[in-house]
Symmetry: C2
Subunit: 411 residues, 2 copies
């Protein structure tokens, strides 16, 4: 059933606090495969780019001690390095023959790619090319994204930890903002270009103390400045300290990003525009209308790498997702992504792992559904909070050295 | 020796992760005073403002269980509320007679004010007025500030926790920034208007893994844009991912704030200008010179309220500082601030508490000394790191509820 040969694993796209937990799972899965199925597990440096340059490292020789996996699982960001390279649609492009000549040279029969939306596109294309040329290889996508916007899975590894960081930080900011009696609006800008999942997490403090942001805006609903300012005015009737959580990617009805006036106009290699300044735009609007203190806090990069406060549920699921990727490959699956299904008939949170056809996942975006957003479009429902709650449960215990969590760096 | 009567405690100035630990210490100290020295310990809402409006709450009746102090000590921001009110220099102002009529009405004989520089000014003025009118009261300042810029003390409660948060976050950002091979500059903007203590903490990752920011800029040295860009160019010769830590308050040689071009021009009640945008100004300069990816991350409010990752050393010292405030007052001290002295003859970190004349402390700023800054003015020395190291040692264990740390809210 399984192929005899070597495996390679890579990481792609933006870093998360859990992507190395998944890497640890893949390495452990490969090393434990047994029966000589997988001889060596290579890591590619900076994703597909390192593969092209044959920057492959023998992970089995590096991870010689079990305890190293514990450190790896709690080290944020991609330990193998990452890239944002998109493969061309045209299979006659020389890059494909180059990739497969490296596969052949290293006898690679298992390919694991840990990433988000764009990385699943790579998995899809490489699977297609392998079929086309008849190269026998198992190609598996392993999900990770703080954005939680992948189709075909209940949630994505990395989301729970980012959500926990957002929820804790918003809870702390709620306390911070409550200390003065002066009227003030604090706007917290949270990552999320097309989907508001991470911004939804700002509502989680409701389950621990009762406080939550007064207003929450997601990219799933068009943003109306006048309605926003009226909602702030209403909130001021309840208390002087308003906290607003907002996704970076909210847009006006005409499709323009709210942050657009303050953005650089740059685009990344996938054509996505860099956004910055959504919070600043709202801050200015509030100052102008109310003449009160207003400030914006952009959680920025910290929300995707705050491994010190990762969710135990997320980290353990991320490790298991990596292990299962190897398991599915050994079973003969290819062109698949490991997905997570929530057992709906259980009162206690419990999940099952599946392998989903990556063609149904790549290049799609799963948005926050209607039933998770309130009628006014400025808050989330209890159903949304109940969906998120189990994903942030549990705390990790990194080892501390001189007061700081220990990280592992692959030299 | 001690006066018979009631005590009142207030919090003032910006919130920190440890200011409630100090409040817990004051309350415990007052409740344990014994012999009927302190009958009641009142909390004033929003500092001196609540005192003027007689918004006083009986803390002894609220903190009826010992375990509540554990939650309070790990709740960020001022649980009693805060204010930024500065008392006038003119003792004939009606505010003084109003304050002392409230003291008299409630038989207040002990006044504890937890705050920073500006709060020590309040302690100084109230002590002076009490002497002037011959009202028998013990007035003690209890330090807190993430800025660590108070004279007369080795360090300030609140600094260790903020420093730990900054150090952990920078360590995580160092990992995050290392994943791509493209040239990129990440600028981390850290709080600190006049003193760079908190920005120094960005160097602490050196002691845990070896990485640290390539460049560190403090307000203690004039900032030169050309020298900065040349230093970035030099750093690019070593690696593609540059991380720069910078205090919000850095200024050019002519005294202008670097962030000035991007600031709102607003001033707070003490006449301090709000700064924002130092990181953005450097980001633009880097983009223009190098045409590379550049981004800035402003740690903003999160660095002063991240109680989930507080330093155990800081929290336990903060509690003790509150207790000692009560102890010094009972001994007859007044017009003093509790200070911390590091035992220099010990190889292991150890401190002593003193009561320092607040006249020597108020309205002064302790800056980072020359021996803590490198010759080029773009980094810190090992002596600086060794000074900070013990202050971030130890982790706290807040109780988690639904995945989030429990906070106590005084209703």
């Amino acid at each position: 059933m399984f192929l005899r040969g070597n495996a390679v694993v890579g990481q792609s796209g933006g870093p998360t606090a859990a992507i190395n937990a998944t890497l640890a799972g893949v390495i452990m899965g490969a090393l434990d495969a047994g029966d000589g199925a997988i001889d060596k597990i290579y890591g590619m440096r900076n994703g597909i780019e390192g593969l092209l340059e044959e920057k492959l490292i023998d992970l089995g020789s590096i991870f010689s001690e079990k305890s190293m996996f514990d450190d790896l699982a709690l080290t944020p960001a991609a330990a193998l390095g990452s890239c944002r390279r998109k493969l061309p649609s045209d299979y006659s492009d020389a890059i494909y023959s180059r990739i497969f000549s490296v596969f052949s040279e290293y006898n690679i029969r298992y390919f694991f790619y840990i990433g988000g939306n764009d990385s699943m596109d790579t998995v899809l294309k490489l699977s297609g090319y392998a079929d086309k040329i008849g190269y026998d290889i198992r190609i598996i996508g392993v999900p990770k994204t703080i954005d939680n916007d992948l189709e075909g899975t209940d949630h994505t590894p990395g989301y729970g930890s980012a959500a926990k960081y957002v929820a804790i930080t918003v809870k702390e900011l709620l306390r911070d903002c409550s200390v003065y009696t002066l009227k003030a609006v604090t706007i917290v800008e949270i990552m999320g270009r097309d989907a508001g999942w991470l911004t939804c997490a700002s509502a989680l403090p409701k389950l621990s103390g009762g406080d939550m942001p007064d207003l929450i805006y997601l990219p799933e609903r068009p943003f109306d400045m006048e309605e926003f300012l009226n909602s702030v005015a209403n909130a001021f009737e309840r208390h002087p300290n308003i906290l607003v959580a907002v996704s970076e990617g909210i847009r006006f009805k005409d499709g323009r990003y709210v942050g657009e006036s303050a953005q650089s106009g740059n685009v990344d290699v996938f054509g996505h525009r860099y956004l910055a300044g959504t919070g600043k735009v709202l801050e200015s609007a509030v100052k102008e209308r109310f003449g009160c203190k207003a400030r914006s806090v952009e959680l920025s990069l910290t929300q995707r790498c705050a491994a010190h406060v990762a969710s135990y549920t997320d980290i353990s699921e991320s490790v298991e997702t990596g292990r299962r990727a190897v398991g599915f490959a050994l079973e003969g699956k290819s062109g698949c992504m490991v997905s997570v299904e929530r057992e709906q008939d259980r009162s206690l949170y419990s999940i099952r792992y599946n392998a989903k056809n990556v063609g149904e996942i790549a290049n799609k975006v799963k948005r926050v559904p209607d039933e998770f957003i309130n009628e006014s479009g400025n808050g989330v429902t209890d159903a949304c909070i109940e969906y998120m709650r189990p994903l942030i449960i549990g705390e990790v215990s990194p080892l501390y050295e001189n007061g700081l969590p220990r990280h592992i760096v692959i030299g």
